[in-house]
Subunit: 382 residues, 4 copies
């Protein structure tokens, strides 16, 4: 069972919520990439808990890079970064194990691992495991940005409260900047207010609420990906489904295109001075046709379920007594996991995009890159 | 770039629409499985063209198994099956190459392969490549059925015409049988009629129409899969996005759960005499929690875009002249690709389900299967 | 269980000795490579049976390419080629199954597949499965040759008869050409004669004889591969051990270096005008240091066991009767499998070398290859 | 470029000699396995430096397990263990970078990573990276031992000094125990003395010496592995070539069989009461036939080159000045790296053996393991 994401850039996430540490190992990172650790910490902080609308837990979540860097620059060896788990409340987790939480992995994991799984704080199934994903993704984002590739996500809807959708042709830079200045990662003040109220109401009711996250990848070159199981959309969908709580993924017009005509959903081509010399007039495809990038922005949306851990009483069973029971989940939980999942979606998109860029060339140059060597000497001639 | 689906059961699809043949190689098939080739042909025939609502092309599509079977039983070696391409119209495909079809892979593939791609009939991007997927999936279906696992899909909607949704707890056996007796793979006569009219109208207008396919997997044991990138949902989403035309995938309540409260979307547990001794009272999760099967049916839906090849005039460019042009796609095209995609969705689900069953045990038995050996002698003692 | 070789260029071999066909599927082939099928057939013919010193079986072994080519040029889609099995003698293979041949896979396979394996002619364990490997490797050789990479192997020893070793610095072009003109693939007439006599004597005695095959890869750029499990030597060793009958692999001085001093085995560096600006004065490392190519020729040797199928009586058991038995293998067998394994070693080396060339760049260029696009239009401007 | 070993049990090694830490992540470990950390530390200590015949560096090398265990038992999540690097001498490594050491990866890595590689103490190419391999392998050894699988290696030769070879049929338990009580891991006092003198002499001369390590795997069930690229021998060879300094791998009679007749090298079968009801009378195959285990012990040998870092003056180049130079490697180096590689070979063998045991079953049981579930409840009924 593979626990790794990516073919060329491979990220392995490890750790349990209450283990010594959580972290990730990234294989295949290109060498020579300067990584700004302050910028990385700022990115990962976007998913850290705290704030009026999130859990009250304190997790500084400062990534410690153990290897893979030399003087802050990637050296071509695997990069491993960890976060120490400092804020675990000691408790008799065996008790927790007795009452599996509805819509959680508790019981399925109990079956899968025959009771050996780590149940403390959700163990390997905790949303906390998305922290290492943001570390890996944050590193990929810096490498991509250097090459003109920008990735940004926002909350498109929380319950019935909606933000305006992104322009599928891009050019939302200002609005996307503004999302970092609001309480919630949204494009408009109206959405910030409405979603804030929706989330506060859910918490007050001891309940939780679902949401949709929308993400855009701008600047990908045309001509990356391939048919069938080579598609960039498949790679993204796989990675995004790995985010706990994601129940759906769609690209471009997505499920809406199921109600459309071809004449309404097709993207006409028109001559362009940008590569590939043609550009789609519209971007209903979400930047991917036949699994291959079109040079238009890649647009996707993910559906995130409402947090399953709620204070309201729910039916469950007692594994020890083998009988029905009732459970109201106490403790500190996000009423809307999607809020903190926004940077996680960006991270997964970045890992998939860099993985795609690192793929074998579809056409092998006739001249092999002997240049490597000259570089090597040049570099030292200085 | 991986062109293969699956970790333990690996299916590689090969061929272009107008090459000598298309086909697939399946690695990791368990030995000793009798494969009924007539039953297989009947299954693959469900996606074959023909019929009032599909393209007029004739493709007998009889799979020829080249290896992997001994007296009709899998022998543990890779199984390769091919379909000869017999019905290609000879034509100057260079001409086709000049006007890339909107929302097709034509132009992205041109960039990806620098003009070396096979453009004849869509080449490796043709929907025809789903035929080998149904061969592989049809074989997996027989192996799964023997173990009480049933997979069935139907058209949930075509444009605005809708079928009734499947019961997420299963028990739709009769309705699902009936779908094979109708013109379209649906559960009700009303849907058959309404969707038929929608598709016929689209064809008449020289246009096409999108659709949603819904699929159920019944009988999967609880406790298969894992967190993050080990999830059964991620495996399924990856495979399903590989079907040409799929723009979205959702599980259980899917995108609808984004508007729901946790108290509305959670699946309470109740004691059950079936493994794992507990069963969800509802199945909003679609049979998967934390990436692991819950023993409830796995339910997913895919959004399929309207066929991009339409007779109506559309904008495109001439690659040769480097200027804007107009294109009306002539020739024989399905006005609704989803109709033939129904068995393809079942096939991908079967490949993912068998791949999951063949995964390493989460817990290694203390007694190693020395039994193998005794079997070996028994078998020959007869 | 993976049946595929390679990470970026992935070759899957399928078929059993007496199935309808054997063949291979190659994923990841670069597009735009002209493949000379006559040259390919000439290469695969080098392993075909026949000749005084090989088995008398007739296997034309003409590869049929089913897909992956357009007008003889790779199109970027997987390439599948097959060879029909025409020369199977019908027989009651159940009888064969009763007496497992010593040092063959017969009994281990019986245990592995619980009697379901195809035993006809050795099934999936037959040396015949090396034919598809030579098809894949022969294609890779043409792609490599175009880029100045040459691969050639010879018989270094057969029993006690020896050929002269290759010059580890290369420059054996003439001698290597001559090997194709002799009865056996060797560098000298003396070796041709001595080895011929050794093989003839073994056949006359109803016995067989082992051999060592030596191979050189010239023209690989420096700086490909990596430490630990990224090494080119590990990739080669894995592939070479996949050739039936190989019991050992060594690089450069190989096992001999175990008796040497560091001062005797080290390769000093000296300034060179060739990349990387330095060259090893000697090549005891066999062209690989720390898993990475040094620009010196890659040299390896494989030990091939004597054909296990011999006419002389040997001890075995009867699976049916569960008692000891005697077996003298009748039928047509090579007294020295290494003779036909020479091109197979070249094929595996070619697949490994091209796989390495197709790997992700260790350093990602700052300018992404937007050039793709311009090519695309250029190509069509003609 | 994959830096991971294994298909089902995947070990990723990370770190550089002078990074914050080195370590490994193991995916696919079965849950429920108690890991004795003291026993693990004792095993990894066998490769730690120190002692008269090894380098004088001090590396406590106590593994810290960050995750994957719950109360000392594997929980089914990836296990990550690290070793902090404490003993790095600060130095201007740029200077080191100027004079690449002969037969080291210095220059090839400089080309590969264009000067971005970590050159401090050999970076990712340091033999120190074998420490994490022994951590992973040590864990696998405990899981295997519980199932009757024992793995042990010894120094077969150092220069011209030889130990007695292992009995290919096993039954060397006492002698193998004794190797842990000697200064060197050998079976006889004579070898201990002779090899000790050989190594001491090499060190005195400012030189180094090569060696052969022989390893045995006892207790593997028959019937694991497969043909071509599925072979257990290929899996082992790949892993063993990943150990720095290994230049050759052979199984059973290995290169010696190249001079033998089939009648001398074949292993006759005889009826046995042990599975698979038959056993080879001899074990020239080294426990593997056709890539599949025979139930006889798996025997392999690896050739390890003499330490390339020697005090004697050698030719190299100055990268900065681009001219020839002379280098005598100062500092603390093992005169015979093979001494510390003995437990590393055992570790790689253990990882390969457990990976093989965790493979998909060749034959899928008709009854799916619903038992999982009952276990789950049982366990909690206590």
């Amino acid at each position: 069972m593979n626990t790794t994401f990516g073919e060329n850039l491979r990220t392995t996430v490890f750790g349990q919520s209450h283990a010594e540490a959580i972290g990730c190992t990234i294989e295949g990172l290109p060498a020579g990439e300067a990584i700004d650790l302050a910028e990385l910490a700022a990115f990962t902080a976007r998913r850290a808990p705290g704030g009026r609308l999130a859990t009250q837990r304190k997790e500084p979540d400062i990534p410690e890079v153990l290897c893979g860097l030399l003087d802050g620059v990637t050296c071509g060896a695997p990069l491993t970064a960890i976060i120490r788990n400092t804020n675990q409340r000691s408790q008799d987790y065996r008790a927790i194990a007795d009452l599996p939480r509805p819509s959680h992995a508790d019981l399925p994991a109990q079956v899968r691992y025959q009771g050996h799984q780590d149940v403390r704080g959700g163990g390997a199934f905790s949303g906390r495991l998305t922290a290492p994903i943001t570390i890996a993704g944050g590193i990929a984002l810096q490498i991509l940005a250097r090459r003109g590739i920008r990735i940004a996500a926002h909350l498109l809807s929380v319950g019935d409260a909606e933000d305006r959708p992104l322009n599928p042709m891009g050019e939302d830079e200002e609005a996307l900047k503004s999302r970092l200045t609001r309480e919630l990662p949204v494009l408009t003040d109206e959405a910030d207010k409405a979603m804030g109220e929706t989330i506060a109401a859910a918490r007050k009711a001891g309940d939780s609420v679902g949401a949709v996250v929308e993400c855009i990848i701008e600047g990908m070159p045309a001509g990356l990906g391939g048919p069938l199981f080579e598609g960039f959309d498949g790679k993204l969908a796989f990675g995004l489904m790995g985010i706990p709580g994601v129940k759906g993924v769609e690209f471009g017009t997505g499920f809406a295109c199921a109600r459309m005509k071809g004449s309404e959903n097709n993207d006409p081509w028109r001559v362009s001075d940008l590569p590939p010399g043609a550009a789609p007039v519209t971007n209903r495809a979400g930047g991917i046709a036949g699994g291959i990038t079109t040079a238009a922005p890649v647009i996707f949306r993910i559906a995130m379920k409402p947090t399953p851990s709620i204070a309201l009483a729910q039916e469950t069973i007692s594994l020890e007594r083998g009988e029905n029971a009732e459970l109201g989940v106490r403790g500190r939980h996000d009423p809307c996991i999607a809020v903190r999942a926004v940077p996680v979606a960006e991270a997964v998109a970045a890992l998939a995009a860099l993985d795609l860029l690192l793929d074998s060339p579809a056409v092998l140059p006739n001249e092999l890159p002997r240049a490597w060597a000259s570089c090597a000497l040049e570099k030292n001639a200085k």
